[in-house]
Subunit: 459 residues, 2 copies
């Protein structure tokens, strides 16, 4: 049963399992105690810190273990912002950061700070010049991911780190998706990561604060982990996390090459076997194992269920798969189609045969969902009235786009279709459909209920 | 090699180990995902929550898993205080709470709130009337431990919970030390606990917020665990924590009886085999497995090393064993001797023979430390001058008390000894020595350097 959602969480690496088992016996005591069990725990903790620091490329005393990647990000951002409060309260982040970064930014704003979200291009990549332009006199901190968690696009971290250094702004890098694949290049100031993304156990993140970077941990004081991560150390998991990071790094070159080839196969095959599909993300500057595509006229949740029934576990950034019924902020920032979205992220050791079978199963799964939704199969007949209004109020993604596609052939070239919709995804997906279909997106205007999206038929 | 520091951290319970192993294979995926691995993880998480809620005596939807007991306390206090900010910003806590509670209180004060610390008696027990008196119009929250972590004294939680209800103040109970021994009685509002204290793994705490209790989680938003515990769920550890809680509870009656008898043996034997010792904490209303005593004229760290060399792992609240060189705030609040302090906390299954051997080893270990420090062996000869000054400046606990004891016999009854000391522990230990020795503690006054402590010989 192929699991293709490694970017969410990877199964435990065999080395992590082994290390965890060993340290359950050796590392359960309090490492701050003076007796033999405590000293043994302290030695294990010190060794894990050294191994992790070596993999990151930092000094052991710059690295602390947190209880998750999310905690590392929250602690890193709040501590760096607080330490530079005299400089100002401005925070610069990319628009495609992980929710832990964006939620930290929202909390910062709620407390009176300001945030600039730097836009990305259609591939999800930040433009260094745009990022540099967001750095101000009062910028206390900048945050940038090493690679995007939804589309795999790598960010120009080294270049942006240099720009930040030049103006004296510390850069925090969220390396959650990439640390298993290699150290983060460049002269960054802080770094956060999460062990269960590289095959380590849940319950372990890491936060690196370079020497010389000002940092003031927030929240109640606690003496553990240099005062930067409160609570009793989760030692067996920490040992396992460090051991598995070392192990995945040892095999990384060959593994990256294999997965990169499999992802390339998916990237080129999907548009061939599935009509009306958009493969998103940077095709070259990307993580080896992640590929994301969106299918017109498809309900993301229904497609996930179809694929699950066929034995494939994937995730989606479509609005229908989120608890808040809003599309992924990443796809939104990229301006790409959000409906029928599928993210495939391959775990190490993925068999080529499983990828082949996925490509066999996918066209039928997509076609089945489209058929049940009544999606258009081909362009409609000759033209009728000059303009049409489609009432999609109360209908959710992908229905508004399907109804648009069904009637576009009913107006002559030059005529317009106005779609009334109160679904947030329509704002993204109607322009995206126009781009994919070669039709003109005229714009939106408020309607009595919802929003009116106007499309002109040009072909 | 007997490990007698279960109150710090207990070795992993065999059931926890088994559950952890099984859920490493079954529970590594993201429980918020829709595919089979995610659904399986969700089922494990739900089952663990139900088991833990049953053991606590609450509804499953009142309980969330946090990444440690410390995080549960921090989150519980900050969320409860924020939700009742309109009522006021006063917090009432006992003076003997765990550092995670007192550090939360300090953070609350730094942010403009106020705290009242309710005193305890010489047994470490809070007087319900004194606690009730600390509740004010503007009290947003009260915190009380179920039992003390250093001396084992149980607090009158049910009675104080009732008082809190009567005036509409929510009570948060820190049940870290007691939850393995049974549910916390009474009508409390919030409860925090830590799995590694009951033989569960590190990395799991739990926070219960009763329905109807106002709560506003602080920090960046996160959708996991009802928005009350950010970060990817540490599922294998959560499953193991719940399984071991159920397992220890199943055997609790017999285990408590056995350990209680062993602790009683220590409580009665220590003053018989070691001269000049004070056994502290409530002898009856106490945890089954904890006993604490302090030895006059003894350096706590040296005694810990002696006991460690003899194969016994215990902890201490003496100033010399803390990184800040201050004595335990618990012993200080109780007003008992802090020098030569030893806490014995027996893990389940402790053999009576190991306790016997401890009682054999202890007198020699204490005597050895005393001898090396030059402690007085018996009362000195006849009186000399009316008053003496002992300069102990620059000397640490237990030296000032040893020097006092050496010369008290050199002044006649009615004469005084003035000890000059700049060691914080002297402020507690000189009055405590007077109490134990039947001498009169006259008081302290500032000196050119340090503090002058005046003792009158009365016997």
């Amino acid at each position: 049963m192929p699991y293709f959602d490694a970017a969410s969480s990877a199964p435990l690496h065999p080395v992590a399992r082994q290390a965890l088992l060993a340290s359950l016996d050796e590392g359960w005591a309090d490492p701050s105690r003076l007796y033999r069990e405590g000293r043994r725990a302290r030695m294990l903790l010190d060794a894990a810190r050294e191994a992790a620091a070596e993999a990151v490329g930092c000094r052991p005393d710059e690295l602390v273990f947190t209880s998750s990647g999310t905690h590392a990000v929250h602690t890193g951002i709040s501590g760096a912002l607080a330490a530079r409060r005299r400089v100002g309260r401005h925070l610069a982040v990319s628009a495609v950061e992980h929710s832990s970064v964006l939620h930290s930014a929202a909390a910062h704003e709620a407390a009176g700070g300001t945030t600039t979200q730097v836009a990305v291009d259609r591939a999800g990549r930040v433009d260094p010049a745009a990022f540099a332009a967001a750095l101000r006199e009062d910028t206390a901190l900048a945050c940038l991911q090493s690679a995007n968690h939804e589309v795999g696009t790598e960010q120009p971290v080294a270049e942006i780190a240099q720009q930040c250094r030049a103006v004296g702004v510390p850069l925090l890098v969220d390396a959650a998706q990439s640390l298993g694949w290699g150290p983060v290049e460049g002269d960054w100031s802080l770094l956060a990561a999460s062990a269960h993304k590289w095959g380590g156990p849940a319950g372990v993140g890491l936060l690196v604060v370079r020497k010389g970077v000002r940092f003031a941990a927030q929240g109640p004081a606690d003496e553990r982990e240099s005062g930067r991560a409160a609570g009793f150390e989760n030692l067996p998991a920490i040992v396992a996390a460090a051991a598995s990071l070392r192990a995945v790094r040892a095999g990384v070159a060959g593994e990256a090459e294999k997965l990169r080839a499999l992802v390339d196969r998916i990237r080129s095959a999907v548009p061939e076997v599935v009509p009306d599909v958009e493969v998103v993300g940077d095709p070259v500057r990307r993580l080896p194992h992640v590929v994301t595509f969106s299918c017109l006229y498809v309900d993301g949740e229904a497609l996930l269920h179809e694929l699950d029934r066929a034995g494939f576990s994937v995730s989606s950034g479509s609005s229908c798969t989120s608890s808040t019924l809003t599309p992924s902020h990443v796809l939104k920032a990229m301006g790409v189609l959000t409906e029928g979205n599928v993210r495939v992220s391959l775990p190490p050791g993925t068999a080529a045969a499983d990828v082949d079978r996925f490509l066999e199963v996918l066209p039928g799964a997509v076609a089945g969902v489209r058929e049940r939704l009544g999606a258009p199969v081909a362009a409609s007949g000759p033209a009728g009235v000059e303009s049409l209004v489609v009432d999609s109020l109360g209908k959710r993604c992908p229905i508004p786009v399907i109804e648009l596609a069904k009637v576009i052939g009913d107006v002559p070239v030059g005529g317009t279709v106005t779609v009334l919709s109160d679904d947030e995804a329509a704002r993204l997906d109607i322009p995206a459909w126009c781009g994919m279909r070669g039709q003109e997106y005229v714009g939106e205007r408020p309607a009595e209920r919802g929003v009116a999206y106007v499309v002109r038929r040009v072909s």
